[in-house]
Symmetry: C2
Subunit: 125 residues, 2 copies
Amino acid sequence: MTDLSLMLNVNMLEEKIIEKNIAVICDCPITAAIGIVGGKWKPVIIWILIDGSRRFGELHKTIPGIALKVLSRHLKELEADGIITRKVYAEVPPRVEYALTEKGRSLNDVMQLFADWGRKNIINA
Amino acid sequence: MTDLSLMLNVNMLEEKIIEKNIAVICDCPITAAIGIVGGKWKPVIIWILIDGSRRFGELHKTIPGIALKVLSRHLKELEADGIITRKVYAEVPPRVEYALTEKGRSLNDVMQLFADWGRKNIINA
DNA sequence: CTGTATCCCGGCTGATACTG
DNA sequence: CAGTATCAGCCGGGATACAG
């Protein structure tokens, strides 16, 4: 399982790289996954959305320090990669809700484990 | 568990931020963990080292595209954060072995889960 | 409210040369 | 072999201002 020989062959991955236009350099699933959720803020966005859908402004307030432009682009990319959905309500003032897709929710276990590791090894280090 | 209320309080985290000089902006364990293993190449380095210790040159060859400078810095940072060890052999030619620490190996489960997710959702998407 | 446009800057990359 | 030094260029992120 931890054997490098289990890494996917380059050709298989290259198809997906071209197809999905993902920047993958190393032929391993870790790098591939990072291409999707590897942005500086994407894991945080997903982590927040696990708790339920959020509006654009809520996300901006919840994540201190993120630039509007970056938040906007990350949300677009996550939507394009099928991780989140974007629902626009034709109201005044406008309202936009972001939520995880099934694929996005499948990241739940990873995120929980990752968060657990963070608590144990950083906070209580 | 997915409740934001479970996020750690800011003060607790700030101590560690100052102490460890980690760039953490959002007060959640996810962001904290990203401060450690969130570099563009760090997860890949860890993923490779799970398979066993590697020399500097091996890492460089195994990760196509990474700049020597960046690999060098990432290794230093991972060592400083207690994720990997650096053992120098006084030989000619010199040899340097990088390996995971106990703390680094504790990332195994996360990495495996992350890799599994990558295989399922990107390769077979 | 929900973004986009703009400018700026630091970081990553890439190549090469050089040290121990 | 295992890095560091240097210079170059590009890309992404950050802050502010503005638009629908």
